[in-house]
Amino acid sequence: MKINVIYFGMIAEAIGKNVETLQINSIQPNTDDLTTFFIQQYPVLKNKSFKIAVNQQMATNNTVINENDEIALLPPFAGG
């Protein structure tokens, strides 16, 4: 399954990119699966704090992901 991913702030810096399209080998992944997947893909994320937004909504516990969803990895907020 194909997902579109956007990285921000210290996460983008750690990974070294802002956007990418990734293939996930899972029929119906949820956001917990995604967290595991991203840490496998990018071990540098293991000791970083981040949250996942799905289609511009903060993922509440274990949101199911669909093909072509817009996934964002959000480091801690610093607005204001």
Partner: protein, 147 residues
């Protein structure tokens, strides 16, 4: 969801005192307003491990952030008896001493303006996907995290 025009809250660079003055002046035609409360966030020249912050470079998940700001405003209108509520946030570089956040609430009476301004400010700090890179004089940086 209906097609709603979401307002853009982001301003390139610092928020100027002139922008604040203009915003205040625009509210003088609304003669049912008795009280305004304005919160301003200003970039501090914090010392971190012996180095001094010169500026914060703000980035944001802009499209989502604008939706979040819009929801926060809507919530404020439903919780408090407000005449107006406005939010502006910087993106890009804001130097120490410059302003990065401008929250402006207006109401007939002071209690609602105060409550709403504080509510909106706390919600922004907690919920808006905005990120800040604190830049030192030697161009090194750390990432800011809201408390």
């Amino acid at each position: 969801m209906s097609e709603k025009k979401i307002k853009n809250v982001f301003v390139e660079g610092p928020i100027t005192p002139e922008k604040i003055a203009n915003s205040i002046a625009h509210h003088q035609v609304k003669t049912n307003i008795g009280a305004h409360d304005i919160f301003l966030g200003q970039v501090r020249a914090d010392e971190i491990d012996g180095k001094t912050v010169q500026a914060i470079e703000y980035s944001a998940y802009e499209e989502m952030a604008n939706k979040v700001f819009d929801e926060i405003r809507e919530d404020a209108f439903s919780k408090f008896d407000l005449t107006c509520a406005h939010i502006y946030h910087s993106k890009g570089v804001v130097k120490a001493g410059e302003l990065c956040l401008f929250v402006f609430t207006s109401s007939k009476h002071r209690a609602m303006a105060f409550d709403a301004c504080r509510y909106i400010t706390e919600e922004i700090k907690a919920k808006a996907p905005v990120f800040g890179k604190e830049i030192f004089e030697d161009s090194s940086h750390v990432w800011k995290v809201n408390n």
